[in-house]
C-alpha cells in the first residue's frame, strides 16, 4: 500500500494495465480468426439445435469466445463460452 495513494483523488487503474487488458481481449478474437458475423451465425445455429430439446431464454443467452488456462500449462487457449438459461424441457419423441 502506497502512503501517497491516500491523497490521490480516485484510484483509476494506470493506463498501462488498461492497455494490457484491452490487448488481451482483442487478441483472443484475432487469434481464433473469428469475425462477429461468424459468431452470430454460430449463435443462431446453437439456439436452433438446442431449441429442439428445450425452451431457452433468448434474452439472457450469452455466447462468447474467451480464453482459459490450457491443461499442459503452456499459457492460454481460446474457449467457446456459452451460458444458456433453460426455461423448460420439451417433450422429445425418443423413437
Amino acid at each position: 500500500m502506497d502512503f501517497f495513494s491516500f491523497f490521490k483523488k480516485k484510484s483509476a487503474p494506470p493506463s498501462g494495465s488498461v492497455a494490457k487488458d484491452r490487448l488481451k481481449l482483442v487478441l483472443v478474437h484475432d487469434r481464433v480468426n473469428c469475425s462477429s458475423q461468424v459468431l452470430e451465425m454460430l449463435k443462431t445455429d446453437i439456439i436452433k439445435v438446442i431449441s429442439n430439446y428445450m425452451e431457452i431464454d433468448d434474452e439472457e443467452l450469452d455466447i462468447q469466445i474467451t480464453q482459459t488456462e490450457s491443461d499442459d500449462k503452456n499459457g492460454t487457449v481460446p474457449v467457446l463460452y456459452a451460458n444458456i438459461p433453460i426455461k423448460s424441457m420439451r417433450k422429445v419423441n425418443q423413437d
Binding site: 500500500m1 502506497d2 494506470p14 498501462g16 492497455a19 490487448l23 484475432d30
Partner: protein, 265 residues
Amino acid sequence: MSEVIVITSGKGGVGKTTTSANLGCGLAIQGKKVALVDADIGLRNLDVVMGLENRIVYDLVDVVEGNCRLKQALIKDKRYEGLFLLPAAQTRDKDAVSPEQMQKLCENLKEEGFDYILIDCPAGIEQGFKNAIAGADRAVVVTTPEVSAVRDADRIIGLLEANGLNNPTLIVNRLRIDLVKRGEMMNIEDVTEILAVDILGVVPDDETIVIATNKGEPAVSNEESRAGQAYRNIVRRIMGEDVPLMTFEEEPETFMDKLKKLFRR
C-alpha cells in the same frame, strides 16, 4: 556456420530498420562477417540509416534479375570491416521479387561466407513480408510497448509460425522507463506475457538513436548511448552468450521518489 535472421514487426515505424542497422554493425564490431539486406523494395531506407546512400550502384532487384553479380551489388561499409549492405531497389515494387528468388539469394549469400545475414523486412503482411521471410532461418520481431504495435506483433508471430519460422524472439523497442514506473506504459513482463515468446532484448527510448540516425552512424558504437548498450547486449545474445536483460534502476531518483519509498508498506 551461417545464419539468416529476418527482422520484422508487422506495424511500421517501430524501429525495424534502426534495429537491423545496429545489430549489423554490432555483429561486425564483434568481428563477424555480416550482410544487411534491405527487403523493403520501393521504400529503401537502410542505406541512409547506415550512411551509405551515396555508394549505391546496383540493388537487390538487379541481383535477382541477373543484371549484376551479387558481389557487385554488395556495398562495403565505410566503418566496419566485414559489414556489407545489399540495398533495396527504389523504383520498383514488392512484386519484382518472388519468395523463391529470395530463398536463392539467401543461399548465395551463405555461400559467400557471411556469418550473419540480416534481412530488414518491410511493414505489413503482404508480398514484401512473404519475400523477406522466405529464406530466413530465424526471426526477430520488433515491437514497442503500445497496443497497436503489440497487436500487430502477435499477428506476425502467428504468420511466422505458420510459415515454419518457429519460436521467433522479441525486441521491445522504445521503452519509456519513466512511463513504465508510473504504470502508464506496459512493462516488459506485460508484453512477453501477452505475446508468449522469448525476449531477445529491450531497447530504451533514447535520443542518441535520433542523433545517430541523423548522422548515418548507428548508435551501437556509441559507448555513452543506453540504446547502444542495449543493442550491444542483443548482439551478444544473438551470438549465443547469456547476457542478463538491462536493468533500469540506475535512473536518477528524485526527492519525491525517495520520500515515497520511506512511506511504502
